[in-house]
């Protein structure tokens, strides 16, 4: 339809037929030399019309909020890390749990198609673990005390607290063994084993001359919470594109399926949820009770945002938002303490030798899973500006945001940053202030004057005169300040690195209004976070291949395209299989590997019975109780290659790992011991771990090259950046060996690769070894030396597509050493002998290489490896296969 726009119209608007994609490319040029634009003569420059169009298609000028900025980084991969400071537990008690940690990996991409269509996608994985408050209570209650099993916090205290007539808590001072008034509050902290959230999202958009419209959606999955979301949003430009209106509606549907920690469940009242049918109770092995709290929530989000170009250097935005949430809006892992003091009863007898104490009463203490209203309306208004600072060529971003909801919370947020470009660098310091009032149903704990309501001789929660109650510290009144810096550097025209750091302080006294306006300091906490991202601009690369022939990548536009890229097109599962062809070349890619094991338990080349594992799988002294039921492993590797000369290519390969495993109870196993942590989690305990793995650093060297034949070697090593200290159950025990994220040792990883090709055929072979250079890591073990050899053949099916077949032989020794300390194996997955073996896999794959058009230079591959022969060390779960997928771009 746009093609029908007349020349007259084009002249009228100057940019009517300019596709936003082409505009975007032009804009890259504009950015490279911004001054050029300012000195252009606007009348006689034909390019100026395009530049204008480019400017109008800019993210900055599309006037869209947050999401639109993604256009600036069409493909990006980001790692983020968050760590909280330990909770203050008073009384010299140090938390036995590691502070809360979150690791995040995120990938985003935007594909621009002809006819103004755009598709963007995103993938996020979060892994979190560590200490988290269950509830809060008076220090005198003793809820801050560590517990022996490591899993059950003292939610109902330890029976030492007394109250006086004014309902002030009295503490039994352990040093003097006397009672003293003490009104201090403290968190009751529990810990969670690592849990992983995966989320995928997409957005499909169409752009018109003065409008854009998007449809978006996605899913988010974690073991206890899954949600699906979808929405539409759009943009309307008017007033010569000086004003823009953004609008949108989103809907999210989430369901909760939360395991109530079995070790503290007996101390928590769940009757409210049981009465609503939200408590699902199953019987685990040996009669243990497995309870899940379930619920559904729905969120509707409406927003409207107006952007205005005020002058040549000032952009202002303001927006309103409304969110309606309904359903189960509480946090299934949070509890409240309810303390009942009946001063009409007799006080406790005065302890001997403690003259002068006032009458004191022993309270009854109950704990219940928190309850929030089933309904929440939230209103948001914000105002933002971007101001150019001429003298420094800098930009200041600032904003204010007001929030109010039907729970009684109102909040103010102020933020400001200063983006300072310095040649290829930019440095952005930022500051943020946040202040909120507390929810109406929040109390650190709930204190009642009078006896607890009862039915028969049991606590009756329904008799408590409250319809909502929470002690979640995030619903209290407090303020926060945070400060951070972002550093970004562009590398060439197509790549940029970004890194950010932020420190954050949450404190009651930081609430607007000053000291005393917020909650006391007992719930103060700090955190820091950092992140690093790599961005690749496909449009700029394509330009380098195509319409800017003077680029430094002449090798790629040469006549022998196949020769340049043949190595790259090897099977997706082969690492280090090609060098970069020319000095100055860069390649950026992502490789994904997913492997899974399930089915029978194997010993050597044959199946074994459960009883055999019970008796032999855990060594001569111990009996096994569990065995793996299934295991998933996925690995994301970032391939970054750079060729300083044509005979050497440098390579950096960070890895991000995630694993999960279900266990099952072996038939014929003896009943669990009382402190068996797995027994509490039902018949199929579930473990997960995720985070940064070992990083590979190395070089590829050209050894031999003749027409049709190439040989290179790789010399490199992995650094022990992956954790070998993954633990479960509140940090008390090591995870199974196979669930650790790295090897914990420095490993050499050399390889020798041959590539051959003739006509439509290509073939190759590689041998490689992965050898630990230390005898044990910080946790006490070292992975077994691994040797691999592989050979493949490929055929060019199409000009851009190739098929491949290969064989891979792997031989890996068992783990040497074992976990330090008192580690008690519960199954073969805890035995160093049950790792490694000799394996033969047959692979089949496809590789594609885009040789022209907007995505020229992109290559991708996919390969499936099917186990053909397995000889397992010890007792292991059957290997079922692995999938490799790769994408890369060279420029």
């Amino acid at each position: 339809m746009l093609n029908l726009i007349s020349d007259a119209l084009r002249a009228r608007f100057g940019f009517a037929q300019e596709s936003s994609y082409a505009s975007y490319r032009l804009l890259r040029r504009l950015r490279a030399k911004p001054q050029a634009l300012m000195t252009q003569n606007r009348v006689d420059s034909g390019a100026l019309v395009k530049l204008t169009a480019a400017a109008l298609a800019l993210p900055g000028l599309s006037l869209a909020p947050r999401a639109e900025a993604l256009i600036d980084d069409p493909v990006s991969l980001q790692y983020g890390y968050y760590k909280q400071t330990p909770w203050q537990l008073l009384g010299g008690i140090k938390s036995q749990y590691s502070p809360l940690t979150v690791e995040n990996i995120e990938g985003n991409g935007i594909l621009t198609f002809p006819d103004h269509w755009k598709f963007s996608f995103g993938y996020v994985q979060d892994t979190w673990s560590g200490a988290t408050p269950v509830t809060s209570a008076p220090y005198a209650l003793g809820g801050n005390n560590p517990t022996l099993a490591g899993a059950s916090p003292l939610v109902r205290g330890n029976g030492t607290i007394l109250y006086d007539k004014k309902l002030t808590p009295w503490l039994l001072d352990p040093n003097t063994a006397t009672y003293v008034p003490d009104a201090r509050l403290v968190q009751t902290v529990a810990s969670a084993s690592p849990e992983i959230r995966n989320s995928g999202s997409f957005r499909l958009g169409r752009e018109w001359e003065d409008m854009a419209f998007n449809v978006a959606g996605g899913v988010s999955q974690e073991p206890d919470y899954s949600s699906a979301f979808g929405g539409v949003n759009g943009l309307i430009n008017f007033n010569d594109k000086q004003t823009a209106l953004n609008y949108g509606v989103d809907y999210t549907n989430s369901s909760v399926y939360a395991l109530i920690n079995p070790s503290y469940s007996p101390y928590i009242d769940k009757s409210y949820y049981a009465s609503r049918g939200q408590l699902q109770v199953e019987t685990g092995p040996n009669g243990t009770k497995v309870e899940h709290l379930t619920g559904i929530r729905q969120d509707w989000n409406f927003h409207l945002n107006l952007s205005q170009v005020v002058n040549r250097g000032l952009l202002v935005q303001t927006g309103i938002g409304f969110v309606r949430s309904q359903g189960y809006l509480a946090n299934p892992y949070k509890a409240v303490d309810m303390v009942f003091v009946n001063t009409k009863e007799d006080p406790v007898p005065q302890p001997d030798g403690e003259a002068g104490l006032p009458p004191l009463w022993a309270p009854s203490v109950q704990a219940a899973v928190e309850r929030r209203p089933d309904f929440r309306d939230q209103g948001i208004w914000d105002l933002r500006f971007v101001q150019y600072v001429d003298d420094f060529d800098a930009a200041v971003h600032g904003g204010y945001r007001f929030f109010i909801d039907s729970w009684g919370i109102s909040a103010h947020t102020f933020d400001v940053d200063w983006v300072q470009p310095i040649e290829e660098w930019s440095v952005t310091p930022r500051f943020r202030y946040y202040s909120q009032s507390g929810a109406g149903f929040y109390q650190p704990y709930f204190l009642f004057s009078g006896s607890e309501p009862t039915v028969g001789d049991r606590f009756n929660l329904a008799g408590v005169p409250l319809t909502a109650y929470s002690s979640d510290w995030r619903l209290a009144a407090y303020g926060s300040v945070s400060a951070g810096v972002t550093v970004a550097r562009s590398v060439g025209k197509a790549m940029a690195f970004e890194a950010g750091f932020e420190w954050y302080r949450h404190a009651g006294d930081l609430r607007m209004g000053g000291a005393g306006a917020g909650q006391g300091s007992w719930s103060n906490v700090d955190y820091y976070q950092f992140n690093a991202a790599l961005k690749v601009d496909l449009a700029a690369i394509s330009k380098g291949h195509g319409d800017v022939p003077e680029g430094a990548h002449a090798g790629h536009s040469g006549h022998d395209h196949r020769q340049q890229h043949i190595g790259m097109d090897g099977p997706a599962g082969i690492l280090f299989n090609h060098m970069l062809a020319n000095a100055g070349d860069t390649m950026v890619g992502v490789r994904y590997n997913y492997g899974f094991q399930s089915g029978d338990m194997m010993h050597g080349t044959s199946k074994v019975s459960d009883l055999q594992i019970v008796n032999q799988g855990c060594g001569p002294l111990l009996k096994c109780r569990y065995t793996p039921k299934d295991m998933d492993m996925s690995m994301v590797m970032l391939d970054i290659m750079y060729a300083p000369t044509d005979w050497m290519t440098l390579m950096l390969m960070p890895q991000f790992m995630s694993m999960d495993m279900h266990l099952r109870t072996l038939e014929g196993a003896s009943p669990p011991s009382p402190d068996d942590i797995h027994a509490l989690h039902g018949a199929n305990p579930f473990h997960a771990s995720s985070g940064v793995g070992d990083i590979f650093v190395g070089s590829l060297f050209k050894l031999y090259e003749a027409p049709g034949h190439k040989i290179h070697m790789t010399a490199g090593f992995t650094a022990p950046t992956g954790s070998v200290n993954q633990r479960v159950n509140g940090n008390s025990e090591f995870e199974h060996y196979g669930m650790q994220l790295g090897t914990g040792t420095w490993n050499a990883w050399p390889s020798l690769t041959y590539n051959g090709y003739a006509g439509d055929w290509n073939w190759g072979g590689q041998i490689s070894g992965n050898v630990p250079l230390e005898t044990h890591n910080d946790s006490g073990f070292a992975s077994g030396t691994m040797f691999q050899s592989t050979a493949w053949g490929g055929y060019q099916l199409q000009d851009w597509l190739q098929g491949s077949v290969r064989a891979l032989f792997t031989s890996q020794a068992q783990i040497s050493g074992q976990y330090y300390g008192n580690f008690v194996p519960t199954g073969p997955m805890d035995m160093p002998q049950s790792y490694g073996g000799n394996f033969l896999d047959i692979g089949i794959g496809l590789n594609g290489h885009v040789k022209s058009g907007d995505f020229e230079g992109n290559h991708f591959g996919i390969e499936w490896l099917q186990p053909a022969y397995n000889d397992y060390n010890g007792y292991q779960l059957e290997r079922k296969g692995s999938l490799w997928a790769s994408w890369g771009i060279s420029f």
Partner: protein, 80 residues
Amino acid sequence: MDRLNNRGGYVVRGLLILLLATVVSGCESVKPWQRGTLAKSHMAPQPFGAQAEFREHIYGSRESAGGSTASTGGGGCGCY
């Protein structure tokens, strides 16, 4: 709204009204060829999008004032 009924609230509101008034009265016509400065990458409303989303994700799980005047969805439980 009672939180706004204090001195801080008045100051905030006063500043906002002043800012709005400035914006409304101060708009000048900016022709497309005059937008070179606005076209600079650091003048984008959010120059570091992915990073900002990570920060917002954390704020969203640590603070009560979630929600947004832009699209949201699928932030997960944030139950910790």
